[in-house]
Every structure is written in C-alpha cells, then in structure tokens.
C-alpha cells in the first residue's frame, strides 16, 4: 500500500501534476484579492454638505468634514444648499475651502441656493455647478445699525464707543467686510466673472443660468456631474464616493427654497430672529440674501413693539395707538436722521 502511494507521488512529481494542483490552489486563494485590486475604487471623492443656515455649529461640522477629507480623500465635492448666515462662520468655511482646495480638487454643486455666506464658502472651488433655478450671489454683508444710547444715565463705560458705536465708523467697518467678501470672490473667480467688482459688490442674486452667464458659476449640472468632475481632476477612474455628513444632526433653514431642496433627515425652518434677537449685542454681521431682510425688519419691529408693550405694562401709562417707536434699522428718532443714513 505504502509503495503504491510512493509510486503515485513519484508519478505526480514526475508529471508535474502536483505542481499544477498547488498552483491552482494558490491562484484560487489570491483570486478574490486580485479581483478586488483590479475592480475596486482607486481613490475617494468626499462629499461635504452645506445644508441650511450657517452658524458656528454648521461651520464646525463643515470644518470637521473638510479635515477628514484632506486626510482620507483625493477630491471633494461641496453640495451647497444654503442662504448663508453668520459672517464669521461663513468666513471660517471659506478658509476651510481655501485650505482644502490647495491640497486637492474641490468642486461645488448648488442645490436650491448658494447665496451670500454660502457662496462665500464655495467661492474657492475649482468649479461650481448649479441648477437652472438655483439662487447664487448676494455678495455682501448686512447688520443692524448699532443703537445710539450714549450718553445715558444708566450705564457707565470707559470710552465713548463702548456702548454706542459711531454710525459712520460702523458703516466703514461694514464696508471693510463687504470689500473683503468681494475681494475673496474676485481672488478666486476674477478670471471667470464677467461682472465688474462694483457689480459684484452690488450684492445682486442671480438664478443659476444667469450665474453661469456672468461667471459666478461655471456650468449647469447636478451633483453627479460635480462628482465626476472632481474625480477627473484627481485622476480617479473608479472613485469611491463617501458622504461626510454626521448622523442625527438637524438642519435649519432661513430660505424656504433651501428647506424644500434639502435632503437632510431632520430639517426645520427657522426665523431670522435666531440671528438677530439679541439686539443689544455688538454689531452682528450677517451674510444673508435679500429674501430674509424683510423678515429681519419684521423681527426688529416686533421686538420694538414688544418693548413698547412691556413698557406700557410696567408703567401703566395710557398711550394712544398712534404712539410708535422707531425701529433700530433706521436709527435716530429725529426725522433728519431718518432722511438719509
């Protein structure tokens, strides 16, 4: 019996059959890895979402996603669906986009809107895709004028501007922020924008097709086109697309159009009150489009009305319905101040 086995083994060796079998086993063992190697992704396109109004939380999420993308991805697609928000948060997101774009391709795709602060965030992108009906632009800053309550008999301060800011100085500051915003847009898209710097600074919004026409955007296309473009720019043939979006967060929207277009699991509309209700704060610079300004005025006026009502309740004085309090958006109770701030 043993001799037969020896004989068979010798035959297998002599005829190389045993080697063929061993080769087959090894080949089959590594075949899955080979399949994976030849057909798997050759890189990653990270998708980062700017969804809803921009505040510190939104910019923190954006920063985290961009940081992760810079570590793990080869290209980034920013899906913008926002009407902007806080100026500081928008500037923060802009800087993150600049940082990322210096390391890898960044392509933006606009859903319902990339207006004001949201446009600021995507301005450094290599390419901006837009829907025909997207709202793009509004390159500017707004803020409520600071209250003029100095001198007063209640609050002491160490300087004349500590409580009530000088109105002219406030406008100069506002202008500085606006010029910075315009400068950033022109820095990254000046070679493509067919508008003059003054026209950009006029802060007009454009529909997507109009934005493509004047150079604020590049092409009409959806997010798939943006992903393909980003992959091409990173020389990826089979990119893995990874959406970097935290679970369980709720997106809030100032613009109804962005609310409707959002794909967020949890979303809600919010009032501009959220960004303006603390009226006694130092200048609160906002980058929001004209669509919410009327809401802001309403919010300011409502606050004034509440203040008057509270005062009435406190003092018990009988006042007529005609009594009014001038809204802070038009400072100074004197008519000549109203005439031309």
């Amino acid at each position: 019996m043993l001799s037969r086995i020896r004989s068979a083994f010798r035959w297998a060796v002599d005829s190389y059959v045993i080697f063929v079998v061993i080769g087959l086993v090894i080949g089959l063992a590594i075949a899955p890895a080979a399949i994976q190697f030849s057909g798997g992704p050759d890189g990653t396109v990270a998708v980062v979402v700017v969804d809803g109004s921009i505040d510190g939380q939104e910019s923190a999420v954006y920063n985290s996603a961009m940081s992760e993308a810079r570590s793990d991805a080869d290209a980034v697609v920013v899906i913008a669906n926002s009407g902007g928000g806080s100026a500081a948060a928008s500037e923060d997101m802009y800087m993150q986009t600049v940082r990322t774009a210096e390391e890898m391709p960044v392509v933006a795709a606009v859903d319902a809107a990339a207006a004001s602060g949201a446009y600021y965030a995507i301005a450094p992108a290599d390419e901006i895709y837009t829907k025909p009906s997207s709202v793009i632009g509004s390159v500017g800053v707004l803020a409520q004028l600071p209250p003029e309550i100095e001198p007063n008999n209640l609050i002491g301060s160490t300087g004349p501007q500590k409580i009530g800011s000088d109105e002219r100085a406030f406008f100069y500051d506002l202008n500085t922020l606006g010029d910075s915003f315009v400068g950033a847009v022109m820095e990254h898209r000046g070679d493509r924008i067919e508008l003059s710097e003054d026209e950009v600074a006029a802060a007009e919004t454009y529909v997507g097709i109009g934005a493509v026409d004047n150079g604020l955007a590049d092409e009409v296309g959806d997010r798939e086109a943006a992903i393909r473009d980003a992959a091409d720019r990173a020389d990826l043939d089979r990119p893995e697309v990874r959406v970097l979006r935290p679970d369980g967060t709720e997106s809030s929207f100032l613009l109804e159009s962005t609310y409707l277009a959002s794909t967020a699991d949890q979303k809600q509309m919010e009032s501009i009150d959220y960004m303006t209700e603390e009226r006694s704060d130092p200048p609160n610079y906002l980058m929001v489009p004209e669509g919410v300004v009327a809401d802001e005025i309403d919010a300011v006026s409502d606050t004034e009305a509440e203040a008057v009502t509270d005062e009435l309740e406190t003092t018990g004085e009988d006042r007529t319905q005609n009594e009014t309090a001038t809204a802070e958006v038009d400072p100074g109770s004197e008519a000549i101040r109203e005439a031309g701030t």
Partner: protein, 384 residues
C-alpha cells in the same frame, strides 16, 4: 553545572576572600572553608576564566539587545516622520490685506465760519420753514443756525400761518425736505420772495422707506419729498431715486462724496477752491432747466438706483436766487463737519445772506419797519 562545579565556585569565592585577608588574619586558625579552598585550588584558574567569559557574554548580549531595541525603536519612530509628506503651506489671504480693504475715513473736524461781511452789517433774518411737515429737528441743524447767528443773522422758524408774513422781512428762506405739499398761497409767497431777490435754499431727499414699530406691529412707510411742484416753479427737479457711489464715498455706497463742479461760485467770496470733499447721505440727483449752474457733482463711478447708467451726477445746482441740494442730512450736527461739509456750508450761508432783497409789495403784507434791503447795501456801508 555539576555539584563539583558548585563546590569550585564556593571554593573560589572563599579563596578570593582569603586573598584579601591581611597577614594578621592569616595567623589565625584556618577555617573549614579555607581548607576546602586549598583542596580545590587545582581548578581555580579555569573556573574563573569561564566565569569571566560568561559575564562578558551576558553583558555583551544585554548590550546588543539594548542596541538593537534602540535601533528598531528609532527606526520605527523615524520611518513615519521620514515617510510623512511635508505639511502643506498655510494659505495666505491676500484678499484680506488691510491696506486694500480698510479705508481711511474722512476727517470730521472744523466749524462753519461764514464771512459775515458778505451780508448786511445790520444783520437780517433767515426763515426756516417748519410748516409743511419738514423732516428735521431743530437740534440737528444747530450748527447751521449758529453759523447764521455768527454772521449777524437771526433765524426764525415758520411754523404756521401765511408764508408771506414770515417772508416779508426775511433775507433768505430755507426749505428742508417737506413731507407735505406747499399750498398755492405759500407757493405764490415764496415765488414773490425770490422775485424780490430773496435767496432760497432747498434741501431734498429721494423717496425712501421709514420703518417704525408700534403697538399694532411694524409699519413701513414710503416717504416722499413734497417738493415736486415747489421746485418746478423754479425749473428745478429732484429725482425720486437715490444716487450711490461704490468708489468715492464716506464708508458706504449711499454716503456719496461729491466735489465742486469746476469753478462753481455761489458766494461773493469767490469760487469754492477751498472745498474738495462734500459728503452727502443718500442724496438724489438735481436737474435744472435754463441757466442753472451745477455746484456739486459726483465722480463718474456713481450710479442711480434702478438705473444702469454710471456717470457723474449733479447733486447741487444754483439757479438765480435758488440753491438746490439733493440731501438734507449733511447739515446735521453729526455730519456738518465731515470732509469739507463745513466749508461748503460756509459758502451756502454766504450765498443766502448776500442777496439783494427788495421791499415786499402791499400784497405781501407790507414792508415791515425792520426789513433788510439787500447785502449790497451792506457792502456799501462797510466801505464807508
């Protein structure tokens, strides 16, 4: 190790100790250990060599282990550092260069010091209309009132009643952004006044929105100047849209900085060569027919809202006895000294007090005893 080896070791240790003993110690009674060492002295040299060799081997081995471990750890630490790509350079933000984006504000300093010599030495009266819902507060125009008084002219506010009565003894009339239209009688009285040589200053505003909050909620009111018919009587027209300038301004596109037009001259003291930057706040364009002279114009980068036209706009004109400015804000206490506003206002006040006013007719309420008859008379008086 065999039991004999162990004995050898013990013996060698004992022997070694014995070698260290002093001669005095050696005279003492030998111990059992010493005796044993004496017995094993045959293998002592070989054993010691083996032991030293073993020691060296162990020490060398420990050293090698430590060296290898350090090398491996060092390589392990160095490889990631060496393999890691250089960190990307920090972005630079030229777009935020302060030299580019931070503007130097116009200085706000100086008073309104008109040359009182151009008016009557006896002084006179300037009437400021308050009867047509004019949008100003007296406190806001204090600098201008003070300047009139410094030039020897008293200021009267016309609050109600026929305009003709107030103008009967006046040298100049100032109309600031009336919300109400002038009635026929006031229009006639004003026209009669300027026909007599009285000087008129009209300060207008574009249409704008006044936002107010009341007990019943917010209200947004569109405010218009009621000057259409008033100014048209003089062939002067104010646009209802505001002019803005994104390049030449006082910190905001609506705060337009205008300049004197050429050798514009509205005061007897001469052309406004001492005026350069006049800051007007949300101004409107002023147009005039006939032989009107432009006084203030914008830079060519200005625009008008709801218009695509970018050009120089006229914001102040003089036509005969009338000076029209498309802004009322620039005279306010917190704006009158911005740029050269105060110097321009000196020219404006000198224009107003240097008129040659004829006595009012009987229809105008008669000639009061204290009516001032023109600035030229004053000049003559001063020459005497």
């Amino acid at each position: 190790m065999t039991p004999d080896d162990r004995d050898d070791e013990i013996g060698s240790t004992a022997g070694s100790d014995a070698n260290d003993e002093t001669p005095a110690d050696r005279t003492a009674e030998p111990t059992e250990t010493e005796a044993t060492a004496t017995v094993g002295s045959t293998d002592f040299g070989t054993t010691e060599k083996k032991q030293d060799s073993l020691k060296r081997t162990v020490l060398t081995g420990i050293g090698i282990v430590a060296l290898v471990a350090i090398l491996v750890a060092g390589l392990a630490a160095a490889v990631p550092v060496l393999m890691a790509p250089d960190p990307p350079e920090e972005p630079t933000y030229d777009e935020f260069d302060p030299d580019r984006v931070v503007a130097d504000p116009l200085a706000a300093e100086g008073d309104i010091s008109p040359d009182g010599q151009v008016g009557s030495p006896a002084g006179g009266t300037v009437v400021i209309d308050e009867s047509n819902a004019n949008r100003f507060e007296r406190g806001d125009i204090t600098p201008m009132v003070e300047a009139f008084e410094a030039a020897g002219y008293e200021v009267e506010f016309h609050q109600s009643g026929p305009m003709s009565e107030s103008l009967s003894d006046a040298d100049a009339l100032v109309v600031i952004d009336p919300a109400a239209r002038y009635d026929g009688a006031d229009l006639e009285a004003t026209e009669e006044f300027t026909d007599r040589g009285g000087r008129l200053l009209v300060l207008a505003e574009p249409d704008r929105f006044l936002i107010e909050a009341g007990l019943l909620g917010a209200t947004i009111e569109e405010a218009e100047s009621g000057l259409t018919e008033f100014s048209s009587r003089y062939g002067i027209h104010f646009d209802t849209r505001y002019v803005y300038d994104q390049q030449q301004n006082d910190g905001n596109y609506r705060h337009v900085v205008a300049n004197p037009e050429g050798n514009a001259e509205i005061s007897p003291t001469g052309p406004m060569t001492d005026v350069e930057d006049v800051a007007l706040y949300t101004p409107t364009e002023v147009r005039a027919s006939g032989d009107a002279e432009p006084v203030l114009t914008t830079s060519s980068s200005a625009r008008m809202i709801d218009s695509d036209e970018q050009r120089s706009y006229t914001l102040a004109v003089q036509k005969d006895n009338v000076l029209a400015v498309g802004d009322s804000r620039f005279i306010a206490d917190d704006r009158h000294s911005v740029g050269d506003n105060n110097v321009f206002l000196e020219h404006v006040i000198e224009f107003l007090i240097s008129g040659d006013v004829s006595p009012a007719s009987d229809d105008g309420g008669g000639l009061p005893d204290d009516v001032i008859v023109g600035g030229d008379d004053g000049d003559d008086d001063s020459d005497e």
